[in-house]
Structures are given as C-alpha cells and as structure tokens.
C-alpha cells in the first residue's frame, strides 16, 4: 500500500477554479459594478448560468464566512441588533455582513447591491430575511419562489428521481414550479436586459446531467476501493466546486479529471488513510468551519469518513433527464422542488442514507444534529432509528454547523472515539 500523498491535482484545480471565480466576481461585480444575483442554494442557478450572470449562493457565502472563523463576530452583531440567539444561523451570516457594512471584515469585501435576491421559501424564514436584506441594500428586488409540499413520499426516490420525476414530485406542484420559473426568467430578463437562449439553456441542463453521471462514477470508485483513494474533505472540495459551477463545461472537464485521478490512485493503491479499518458516514449537514474533524480518527482507529450527503447528491438528486421534445424548464422545476425533502424528511432521508451505507461499505454513522437551524435537525431521530434498524450504529453530535463558538473539538473527538470503541470496533 502506498503512503498517503499530498492533495490530489483535482483538488488543487478545484481550489484554483474557486479562486478564479472569486477573482472574476471581484473584478466584474465589486469593481466593475456588474450584475449578479444572491440566491439560496436550492434555487435554479441554471437560469443565471445560462444568462452568464454570476451567482452568490447563500450556503457558499455562509461557509466561507464560517471557514474564515468570522461567524462569532456576526452572531454577536445579530444579538446586538435584536435578532435573538435561537434564530437560524446558517442562512443569516451573509445578511449580517450587509447590516455590518464593513468591507474590510467581510469576505471578498462584502456583497454589493445585487441585481436581485432569490429566496426559495422551503421553511418559514426566507421571506423574512429576504425582505429585510433587500431593504438593507436600499431596495434590491426580491423574488421568492414558494415551496409546495409533496403529499406522499413515494419509496425509492433516488431510483425514480432521474426519469420518473413527474409522478414522484406530483404534477400540480411541477405546474406551479414551472410557472414560478417563467416568472423568474421574465424578471431576470427585464432587470438584466438579457434574453435566455433556449438552446443554451437546454445545453446547460444536459451538462448538469452529464456532470451528475461523473459524480456517480466517482462514487462507484470510492465505494468499491478499500482503502478509499480520497479523503472526505477533498471529496467535498471537488464535488462542491462542480456543484456551484453546474451547467458549465468546466464542471464536466473537472469531474472527468477527478474520476481519472481517482481511478489512477485506486489502481496504484494510493489511500487517504492507508491503515483504513473502518468506514464511516457523516450524516446531515457538513461541519464547514472544521472539515479537518473528519480526519481525526484515521491514525488511532483507522476510521475514515468516506461519505457525506454532498458526496453524491449531485448524481442522485440533481440529474433530471428529459427528451429532446420536452421542456427543459420542467426538468429544472423537478430538480429543486423536493431537494430538501429528500435530505431531511424521515422516510426519504433514511432510505437514501441506508443505501449509501451499503454502497460505500460503511460500518457506522456519525450524525450532526444542528442547533440554531432546527429545519436541518428535523428527521434525524427517525433516520437514526432506521439506520440502527438496518444494522448501522449511529452516534449523534449536537452542534452548530457554522458557529465555532459552540464547538468543543476535544470533547467531540472524545465522543466519537468512545463511540467507535464501544459500538463499532470488533
């Protein structure tokens, strides 16, 4: 077995791409005053990608703020402004950078007034934050995509969602979502003085599907190869870079290079943890301010996190195939209409994760139950029960996804270690 190596070339390329994207944002938007959009992560970025309008994703900017360990400052600001400490923290960080109005502190100099703010109202707070944020920018347009709810959680969503999505997500909901997307396109075209090119939009949609196929290929390599040829933090870097750039040729080329390198490492026996003995799932949202935590258990226990929901949700959740005589807008509607439900509703969440545990040959799961973002905690209790019933031991860690103030690293490492010793190591 070959010893662990430095970062994959693909990882370095993904990081370089992120830097290029950020540089473009700085040049075109912050310095050049160009159009851009602030959008919730689970919104149809594909429309803006087709129109070549930069998108700042709330989740991405929150993660950047957290990674720079700025979240404590902004949460203190939130307290001072009267937003109580029980409110959702993940989506509120970017809003706080605007209220703070300090470009020297905010990542990339803070966000200038956007062309529009796009919220998807999957919970109850999007419109409240969106309205106030739009006002804080001095009157930015707010588009709120309302979020309809599926009446029945039909089984095996991850097997049906790529081709059989019309029945899975229910026709009235898709009709409604298509109408909302048409409204969004009309608003965006009006504000940007650009026109959505149908052929390019169709091509973007096909490229997202192709990228999803490559993510699935990466999954197959990692799932079957023991020891795993890549660490979880590097998986996240590569997959998330492609996710944020979905629909681009770069995302396809990058994922192809990533797969090729994974194949090569697998063939040569290059491993993230050469003494891998246990494989773990990281269930629920990522620990963005401390991704190094995922690797804390390799040396002592040979325990390797090989999967999180970001590993292959792109392949299972994003791909929506459509025929050449069909409207790609309906496929785009299908892409986002139940994305969060698939990740957080008890039945759908559990059945997918159990399947991933089997595919990735996992021995146990560590589940993050977020505090301060209760929507992301819903479904975790039943999911843990279902995993245990399927023979997969589960440890739940209650912690913030983004607030480093609430994270006791030593205590959490000890907790996972104890769990491995008590329930996993045989």
């Amino acid at each position: 077995m070959t010893a662990p190596q430095d970062k994959m070339a693909a990882t370095l390329a993904a990081q370089a791409h992120q830097k290029e994207t950020q540089a473009r944002f700085r040049t075109e938007v912050i310095e050049g005053g160009g159009d851009y959009v602030i959008a919730d992560a689970v919104t149809p970025h594909e429309i803006f990608h087709t129109l070549d309008i930069p998108v700042i994703s709330l989740a991405w900017y929150s993660a950047v703020i957290a990674a720079k360990r700025l979240s404590p400052y902004y949460f203190d600001l939130m307290d001072r402004l009267g937003y109580h400490d029980g409110l959702p923290r993940y989506g509120s960080l970017p809003f706080m950078t605007t209220l703070d109005a300090d470009p020297d502190r905010a990542p990339y100099g803070g966000l200038p007034k956007p062309m529009l703010i796009l919220e998807r109202l999957r919970g109850d707070v999007g419109q409240k934050i969106g309205e106030q944020w739009a006002r804080a920018f001095g009157g930015a347009p707010l588009v709120a995509l309302d979020s309809s709810s599926v009446s029945e959680l039909r089984p095996d969503w991850f097997k049906r969602s790529q081709h059989d999505w019309e029945e899975l997500y229910e026709t009235p909901r898709l009709d409604f979502q298509v109408e909302q997307l048409r409204n969004l396109i009309a608003v965006t075209e009006t504000l940007s003085h650009r026109t959505l090119d149908m052929a390019e939009f169709r091509a973007v949609m096909h490229r997202v599907n192709r990228a999803g196929e490559l993510v699935d290929k990466a999954k197959q390599i990692i799932a079957r190869t023991r020891p795993a040829p890549v660490s979880l933090p590097e998986q996240l870097t590569n997959i998330m870079a492609a996710t944020w750039s979905r629909g681009s040729q770069w995302s396809i080329d990058h994922l192809q290079a990533y797969c090729d390198e994974l194949e090569d490492r697998a063939a040569k026996g290059v491993a993230a943890c050469p003494n891998e003995r246990l494989r773990l799932l990281w269930v629920n949202n990522g620990l963005w301010f401390n991704t190094g935590f995922y690797r804390e258990f390799e040396q002592k226990y040979g325990a390797v996190f090989v999967w999180s929901m970001y590993s292959n949700f792109f392949s299972d959740g994003y791909r929506k195939y459509f025929g050449e005589d069909e409207d790609p807008l309906r496929a785009l509607a299908a892409r986002h209409i139940s994305m969060n439900e698939q990740l957080h509703l008890p039945g759908w969440m559990a059945e997918w994760i159990i399947q991933q545990a089997r595919d990735y040959q996992c021995d146990a799961a560590v589940m993050l139950v977020p505090v301060g973002d209760r929507m992301a905690s819903f479904g975790t209790r039943l999911c843990a029960m279902a995993l245990e019933q399927a023979g997969i031991p589960v440890l739940t860690l209650t912690a913030s996804m983004v607030d480093a103030r609430l994270w006791d690293n030593d205590a959490m490492i000890a907790k996972v270690g104890q769990f491995l010793e008590d329930r996993v190591i045989r």
Partner: protein, 381 residues
Amino acid sequence: MDKAPLAVLSAAYAGQFAVAARRKAAGERLVGYFLNSVPVELILAAGLDPIRLRGEPADRPVRADRYMEEYFDGEVRAIFEALLDGRYALLDLLVVPRPSEVYLQLYYLIREIPRWEPQAALPPTVLFDLLQTPSYTTARYDLGRMRALADRLGEAGGEAVDNARLAAAIRTANRLRAALCAAAPLWRGDEPRLSGADALRVIGAAGVLGTEQATALIEALVANPPPPLCAAGPRLLIKGSPQHDTRFTELVESCGARVVAHDHLGGDRTFERPVSEEGDPWEALVHHYQREIPGPRAYPQAREDQRFLKLANAAAVDGVIIIHDEWDDTLGWEFPDQKRLLDEHGIPVLFLKRQPWFDPPEELQREAVTAFIATLGRAGA
C-alpha cells in the same frame, strides 16, 4: 345576568375531546384540523363537520419524543402525543395545514408512524398545502389545492361541493366570524366584561363546537353579557407564538394587568376579516386564505405589522408582550422591526424570547411581567 353561554363555551374549550366524542356519537362526520388556515367553508359545503383541535400541555411528549425532535413547537409535540395515544382516531378525516414548517413536518411524521407502530390508531390524514406568497401564480396553485381538498372530503363521505353550497358555507362561517367580532368588545372594550383568558376560551370554543351552535352561543353571550370586570391595571396585548392555552394569559392577568387583545393564531386576528360573499366563491376563498389570514409565512411583513398595530390601537393598549416559543426560528426575525414600530407609536413592549411550552419558567415570567407593568404610566388607571 345569564352566564350560561360563557359556561358552555368554557366547558367546550376545556374538553375538546369530550366535545368531539359527543359530536361523533350524535352522528356527526368529524373533520379535524389545526390553526386558522384550513378552509372550514369547504368542510361545511361538503356537509361534513369541522372541529378545530389544539395541543394541550397535559400531553407531555413521551411516545412522541421517540420520533420527534425536541426542537418542534411544544404544542405540536403535544398534538403528536395525543395522536399516538389514539385520541384523534374518532375523526373521519384529519386535515393538517401547512401554515409553518413544524405542521408540515407533523404531517410527514403522522404518515411515517405506521411503519414503526402498525397498531397506532391514527385517523386518515391529508395535507392542505396552502401557500401565502402574494402572487397570482400562487393563487392559482391554492385554487388547485382547494379543489383537491374538496375531492378528498368527498372521499371521506362528503357531498360534491358546487358554487351554491360553497357560497352558503361561506355565509355560515362568516356569521361565526361576525359573532366573534361582536363579542370582541367584551374583552377589548373600554369596560371589559371578559378576561383575556376568557377571550381565548370563547375563541377556542368557536372552533370546537359545531358552527351553528357556536354562533348561537356567542350571539347569546353578546346579547346578555357578564357585568364589567372589577379588575384594574394596564391594558395589554399578547403577541407571538400561538397561545391557545390560557396559562400565560392568566399569569399576566394575575400580575395586575388586563389582557385585552391577542395577536397570534389563537387570537383576535383570526376572525377579523370575513370571506367575500361577492363573485366566484372559490376565488373568494383562495383570496381569503392566501392573503387575509395571519400566519408565520404571511408577508409582506410591513402589511402584517400594520394590521397588528391597528389591533393594538383598536384595543387602546398600554403595552405589548411578545412571547416566542423556545425553539422559534421565524417570529424572531420580525421583532426588531416590530420594536421600532411600537417605539414610534409610544407603545412599550416586553419581549420574552425562547419560552418553553412545557414547564414554562413561571416565576421568571412573573418577575418580568410585573417589572414591565410597573414601568407603564397608566398602570392601575
């Protein structure tokens, strides 16, 4: 003085499941629902019998906690416990609305339970996916959901809902709203005759009893009201998380205040606006539930806040207490703006954030409320 209507209403409020059992035994076909966002007009138009149910603090989440995270609103945890206990099984249908994420999650949990407890006695359950974004596109979606609910009521034994039946049902439901509006001066007027807790009982009972009976009782209460209360103290409005149960209102009143208005999903604004009786009844119903009812997802916020302020002014309040549930992730976003609005109008406000629904910290609450009352200039006037 005839106190009988109030006594009947209070008893109905206190014994919602007993009322449900009596109504069921009398041959009614009960359709249960929660909060203010299920169109009772559709249930009435289908010839079925609506009953609005609420969580009770006595239903501590023992079985419910096995499945449901502690971050749910306390009242929803209590509802789920009662459901698992089989107390909703007498319903012919349970309609779960989607006024907020926790009720949506409740629906999915109810649907998931048979996998874990096949023996659980649960009623047939349907989701009513009302959306409240202020747009024509959303109105069209809501119209579809209304018609789908009418179809589902038909499957539960109801009649087909045509325009004439729906228009008649709108008039029936509006009569109940009008009766409650006529009753509101009993707690909101210059000389209150009902306490704030009694106001909650009357409003709550209006949904538990049959619509015709509730209307008649409230009209009788208005015709023969109790004498003015002797209680003095500042006039307060309670706002925030739903206060269907009377515990916090009673605590505030025991501190020497008069609670003269409630702005939450168990309060005054739930009956302030009738459904239009003009034009297409389906479109009138959609407009009402999409745009005119209060709810955590309703926006623009400034419009909702103006309605709150209008209620506060109508009730001539000396102060406002805003109380939020322990795990509130929504209403807290409104507070800074509401505080500014109240400051501009010279209305003092006490904010009690993150208050547990089970085992509330009553001594701390009493301390905070007493201190707040002491600051109000007109206290004891």
